[in-house]
């Protein structure tokens, strides 16, 4: 049991190393990758079954000293927050492999394996140095994949995403090191474990600066308004599976970081930043949506849509009440699914027509009914249609926002308008309308593609129809976290 | 009192020699100044009762280094017009001196801060025996490393100085 999390984190990397050592042929490589992803998925499900939602704090903790002199430990653990993201990653990974089943670039597969280790490691690690390591580990494969296998101005865009995110990570690293030093000053021993550092108290000014380091890293990753210019170029150049990871998982890690480390370390201080984040999030929500309207490139359009929804999630997190938090966490999961679905569809579109430009498309529903149906379905999920998971998250966040105040409530409710601004116009010009030169030879979904997409679609429907199946998994822990937070802040919300 | 006079003379000798090294234009003149400095240093060693160091300084520095330097200077045999054209030499020297002065002052202050008066010398201080004892007991490893370094320097000097190079970086 104790090793479970380690298996989950390092299995893909282990597979990658083994297969790389033996220089296996492509069919074995993809089979191995798929096997590792399925194993991780199975282990994650097993973990979920044994996960106790009512228990307080971290579970399945694995804590070993690693670099003893500096108190850096190998410290993994899981709670409801990380469980949700872990499950999404584990669920999406096999589907991504299925998507790239016939994609014979070997380096790509290795990068995906590494990426999975990086992402799950970042989600599960509770030691800040370890977290930082994984946080950077997951950036490198993305950099390589955009730079080597991307299209468009891929080199430039890969550099842009690398530089901007590394800038944030550097600020975060500085804060992490300072925290460790402060712990050393206070206790005479080094430690970077989250639970240790959370006990430190600073004077407000220091705390504000330290929090700023973390917030910068997360704001760039999310990305909040103003920190976002890497987003659209990266999404438009990256190959489809990395776009899916970027939007479905990595962007969520920014929010997750804000949640885990922002509130875990700087609960009281964050109220200082709360107005700023609220304003940025609300502005981003509308800004990205309006920006998306005139986008001709589907990838860029849904990059902005992703940004818009992540702003909403960030908004939900800083509102710190049960509804908003549950909504944010639920939305993290369902948005991961929906954006994975839509980006995979866009990838398939690109395979078929060689273009992701709306002006080239049209009439897909006439030539490929199944494709059109699923495409419209995922697009509507993005727009937050009831009956799909996206709606539940939005509803909860809106309700939570109204709990905080009418003005914030209205701001959050604009999400109802935000996505629809571009989704319907996009549908009008891609799925419907007359068939164009590019879509005339459009083939409908193959069995393999259906196999890739239907699990996502089904899960979206289930999350929409019966959210009560999933909420008990995280609600008690969120409640506990909120209580803890209320105690540290001193009752202020 | 005689020591003081000797010290003053040696100091004068040393400074003038050093200035000659830095200021004089012809390499041969520089070498003379260099020789004066090395001799003055040897004299200082003697004043400090470091008899073995004095010997070593005379033998190695004066006997070997200066001779070698002179040989090379003569071998190269620069013509007057081959000298570097240092039009702003004075400016450079003054500027560099100004820049160096604070550091020199700091250095001197630091050194002096840990120095008190000389104790009485024991018998045999600075003799070859004393140095040898210390060298072959406490300082064996540095000594051996230095011997390796000398060997390497010798080999290196030969390789660098060979006329036709086995490997030519430029071409």
């Amino acid at each position: 049991m104790g090793m479970l999390l380690s298996y989950i984190v390092f299995l893909p990397m282990l597979f990658a190393i083994l297969m790389g050592l033996f220089r296996v042929k492509f069919p074995i490589l993809r089979a191995g990758a798929m096997l590792s992803a399925l194993l991780v998925f199975a282990l994650s499900l097993y973990l979920t079954l044994h996960f106790d939602p009512a228990a307080e704090g971290m579970q399945f903790v694995r804590r070993l000293p690693w670099i003893h002199n500096y108190g850096i430990s190998y410290y993994l653990g899981i709670d409801a927050l990380s469980l949700v993201i872990l499950l999404m990653t584990a669920f999406l990974m096999p589907l991504l492999y299925l998507y790239m089943w016939n994609y014979e670039k070997q380096g790509y597969w290795y990068n995906m394996l590494l990426l999975q280790t990086g992402v799950t490691g970042a989600v599960l690690s509770l030691d800040l140095i370890l977290f930082y390591l994984f946080w950077e580990t997951m950036l490198l494969p993305i950099f390589v994949m955009i730079g080597r296998f991307g299209h468009g101005m891929n080199r430039f865009n890969a550099m842009k995403i690398l530089l901007m995110t590394v800038l944030g990570s550097m600020a975060m690293l500085f804060s992490i090191l300072y925290l460790g030093y402060e712990y050393y000053e206070a206790h005479g021993a080094w430690s970077f474990a989250l639970d240790h550092l959370a006990t430190l108290s600073f004077d407000p000014k220091t705390s504000i600066w330290l929090a700023a380091g973390f917030l910068l890293a997360f704001a760039i990753k999310i990305p909040l308004l103003g920190f976002h210019t890497w987003m659209a170029p990266a999404y438009s150049s990256a190959p489809t599976p990395s776009v899916v990871i970027l939007s479905a998982i990595m962007a969520k890690l920014g929010v997750y970081g804000l949640w885990r480390f922002g509130y875990g370390l700087f609960g009281p201080t964050l109220s200082y930043y709360e107005p700023t984040i609220v304003v940025l999030a609300v502005a981003g929500l509308l800004y990205y949506a309006i920006h998306a309207i005139m986008e001709n490139n589907l990838r860029r359009m849904f990059a902005f849509s992703s940004g818009s929804h992540l702003s909403l999630i960030a908004l939900g997190i800083v509102l710190t009440n049960l509804y908003a938090w549950s909504g944010s966490l639920y939305f993290i999961a369902t948005h991961a699914l929906a954006s994975a679905g839509i980006f995979l569809m866009i990838g398939l579109l690109y395979r078929r027509t060689g273009s992701v430009h709306i002006s080239n498309l049209g009439g897909i529903a006439s030539v490929a009914p199944r494709f059109g149906f699923l495409f419209a379905f995922f697009a509507l999920c993005i727009a937050g249609l009831p009956g799909t998971g996206g709606f539940v998250g939005e509803l909860l966040i809106v309700i939570g926002a109204f709990h905080e105040g009418i003005a914030i409530g209205f701001a959050a409710a604009t999400t109802m308008l935000a996505a629809m601004l571009f989704v319907f116009w996009m549908l009008q010009r891609t799925v419907f309308g007359p068939v164009t030169r590019h879509t005339a030879q459009f083939g409908d979904l193959t069995t393999l593609e259906l196999l890739t997409l239907t699990p996502i679609a089904l899960l979206l429907v289930v999350t929409g129809i019966a959210p009560s199946l999933f909420t008990p998994l995280f609600e008690p822990q969120l409640q506990q976290m909120l209580q803890t937070l209320a105690q540290t802040v001193g009752g202020a919300s | 009192m005689p020591e003081k006079i000797i010290l003053t003379l040696l100091g004068l000798f040393l400074v003038v020699g050093a200035l000659t090294v830095v200021i004089a234009r012809r390499p041969a003149t520089n070498a003379i100044g260099f020789l004066a400095v090395l001799l003055a240093v040897a004299g200082l060693f003697a004043l400090l009762n470091q008899s073995f160091l004095f010997l070593a300084q005379i033998l190695v520095s004066v006997g070997a280094v200066v001779v070698l330097t002179l040989i090379v200077i003569l071998t190269v045999n620069l013509k007057e017009e081959q000298f570097p054209k240092e039009r702003f030499k004075g400016v450079w020297i003054v500027g560099a001196s100004v820049l160096t002065a604070p550091f020199g002052w700091l250095l001197y202050k630091t050194l002096v801060s840990v120095a008190n008066a000389f104790p009485k010398t024991q018998k045999g201080f600075g003799s070859a025996e004393a140095v040898g004892k210390s060298l072959f007991t406490d300082w064996v490893l540095p000594f051996e490393i230095l011997s390796l370094l000398l060997l390497a320097a010798m080999v290196g000097a030969i390789i660098i100085g060979k006329k036709e190079q086995a490997y030519d970086i430029e071409s």
Binding site: M294, S468, P472 | -
Partner: protein, 633 residues
């Protein structure tokens, strides 16, 4: 019996959804085949018909008990904190009536659609959508809490979107569908804001309608008013009231059964139903009610004016729908909830009938929609003419047809509540209604034919539903026979909504009715004089008439006011804000690095003594600093 009836609700909801799922999957599996069409039709019709039968049973059960509410919780939909939303269905009197309307009219139109849509491609998909719509509508109607209602509310919007854009090869139709959904979404923004606010106010005590009603009294009236307004914004969108009405005429791009079911009989009335559902809330804020009534009156009059100048048969009916919805909002706004629902009830029959009759004419004339190209159809299409006449009389408010009683109830209520101006608008609209409806009737059926076109024979599945609804349009009014005519207004008594008391003697009511009748007759007469003999599509006309024909250029104004600025803003954000300002700031730092690196590159000139100089300069600075701060001691 009770237990059984309760369980029926779940089945009623499940039937259409299951039908939609099966039909949809079959269609997606065999998208091109035509052999399954008969099966599709049977399956598509079976669900609604069975649901209608069950719905009738529920209505009977509700009616036979006194003040009973059937409630069935299928499962807990969501439970977070105080927010415990069960997928609970409930049928009180109001719900049962709506259930009956939706399933009954729905089934009839499903049957009609079998004939109407025959030969269309994607036959199965149509019935999948249609069943899906019916299920969503039932979810809306039967919901026991506002959240589930909102889900149904959005899903009917989706169905409407898909069905308006049915002929999606033509971008204009998809545009119409988009317009419908987007305007609905603007309304939904209001709705969900209202719900969020409402939950923040009373959520701790549970969030079903009954719980809200129990706790609403303790809330600050200003807040209640705000909630009421926000919810009504949702109703504006769904029920096509000013200013969110512009989608409804365009929605006629969908097939006629769609127009009949969604954009006449059921979905568009959801706003009225919602206001009636929240009657307990609106009861405490009469000012908001007055606002609703004013919007309703304005919409009624404006739509009636527009309808007088349209020549597309379906658009006339669309504006007429909007106008009748305005009537309903007058009623519910002024506290006459029963009257409003009663009009909703009768309207469902005659408006569905009108659309279906129009649809019959359209397919008979091979998809001709301009009334001035029709004419003289009464000889060739007797049955259609008769049923249309019944419906037209009903909507014009001629006794004893259904519309007379319901419209009368609304106008009497408006008059009695003292808002005479709204009443006057209502009466004027009644005149216009009679005028434009008979204009349509005379031009299409009575006037001499313009072109020699032989109508295609109609399928029996198309004609029989007309008869059924004609009967309904003729007799539905008697359910709400007012006291003035010796009835007991059974309908209002059955609904027992918190109606505002009405102080109107039988004599006064009788006089009002006579006035209405007179006005309607005048409208019919004018229409007869103008259009029965030689109808002309007026082209001349004064400026205001041209304006009306172009519906006051509202579409264009909206486009210029909202759509274009939004697109412009989007471009601006892309080209200026992102590329210039934000990337500009980033670029500035990059440029700073460039300049600095060029400077440092100059320093690195390759000459070692310079390097030594830099080194010494640094050392010099450091030494000076040490000497200065620590002292040379």
């Amino acid at each position: 019996m009770t237990l059984q009836t309760t369980q029926l609700l779940g089945w009623i909801l499940l039937l259409p959804f299951t039908g939609a799922l099966v039909l949809g999957l079959l269609h997606l599996t065999f998208p091109r085949t035509r052999r399954l069409d008969t099966f599709y039709a049977a399956l598509g019709v079976a669900g609604p018909v069975v649901a209608a039968a069950l719905g009738l049973k529920v209505l009977y059960a509700v009616a036979s008990g006194a003040d009973v509410t059937f409630r069935q919780t299928l499962f807990t939909w969501l439970s977070v904190g105080d927010l415990k939303i069960g997928l609970t269905l409930s049928a009180d009197a109001l719900g049962a009536v709506m259930l009956f309307i939706v399933t009954f009219v729905g089934s009839v139109i499903h049957i009609y659609a079998v004939g109407y849509m025959r030969g269309e491609k994607s036959f199965g998909k149509f019935f999948a959508y249609f069943n899906f719509f019916l299920g969503s509508m039932l979810l809306l109607v039967l919901a026991d809490n506002p959240i589930v209602m909102f889900i149904g509310w959005e899903l009917v919007g989706l169905a409407s979107y898909l069905l308006i854009g049915w002929y999606y090869e033509d971008p204009a139709n998809v545009k119409a569908a988009n317009k419908a959904f987007i305007l609905n979404r603007i309304g939904d923004f209001g709705f969900i804001s209202g719900l969020g606010l409402l939950f923040a106010l009373v959520g701790e005590g549970g969030f079903s309608f009954a719980d809200i009603a129990a706790h609403i009294g303790s809330v600050d009236p200003a807040m209640t008013a705000l909630v009421g307004l926000l919810l009504f914004v949702g109703a504006m969108g769904k029920s096509a009231q000013i200013p969110l009405y512009v989608w409804l005429p365009d929605a006629m791009a969908g097939p006629t059964p769609v127009s009949a079911l969604i954009h006449a009989a059921t979905m568009v009335t959801a706003g009225v139903y919602m206001v009636a559902r929240f009657s307990f809330l609106y009861e405490s804020v009469p000012d908001v009610g007055l606002f609703i009534a004013s919007i309703g009156a304005a919409s009624a009059l404006l739509a009636a004016l527009f309808a007088c100048y349209q020549s597309d048969i379906k658009k006339i009916l669309a504006y007429s729908t909007m106008s009748q919805l305005g009537y309903m909002f007058i009623a519910v706004g002024l506290g006459g909830y029963s009257a409003g629902i009663f009009h909703l009830f009768t309207h469902a029959f005659f408006k569905a009938l009108l659309f279906m009759g129009a649809g019959a004419v359209i397919i008979a004339l091979h998809h001709e929609q301009n009334i001035f190209k029709m004419g003289g159809l009464k000889e060739k299409m007797g049955l259609v003419t008769a049923t249309m006449l019944v419906a037209t009389l009903a909507i014009s408010g001629i006794p004893p047809f259904a519309g007379f009683f319901s419209k009368d109830a609304i106008l009497a209520h408006a008059f009695a509540s003292g808002h005479t101006f709204i009443w006057a608008v209502g009466v004027a609209t009644a005149y216009l209604t009679a005028y434009y409806m008979f204009r349509l009737f005379f031009v299409v059926f009575v006037a001499p034919p313009r072109e020699k076109a032989e109508p295609a024979p109609l399928d029996r599945t198309v004609t029989w539903p007309l008869v059924v609804l004609a009967v309904g349009s003729a007799v539905a009014g008697f359910f709400g026979l007012p006291e003035a005519y010796g009835g007991q207004n059974w309908f209002a008594g059955f609904l027992h909504l918190p109606d505002r008391a009405l102080h109107l003697g039988s004599g006064e009511e009788f006089l009002l009715d006579m006035l209405n009748l007179l006005v309607a007759s005048a409208g019919i007469y004018v229409a007869y004089r103008l259009f029965a003999r030689s109808p002309r599509e007026a082209h001349d006309a004064a400026a205001w008439q041209t304006m009306l024909r172009h519906t006051l250029y509202v579409d264009e104004i909206y486009e210029a006011l909202f759509v274009r600025p939004l697109r412009g803003l989007s471009r601006l954000l892309d080209r200026v804000v992102d590329n210039r300002i934000i990337d500009g700031i980033i670029g500035l730092t990059v440029g700073g690095y460039r300049v600095a690196s060029a400077g440092f590159a100059l320093l690195q000139n390759g000459s070692v003594r310079w390097y030594a100089l830099y080194f010494m300069a640094g050392l010099c600075g450091l030494s000076l600093y040490i000497l200065q701060n620590i002292g040379g001691e």
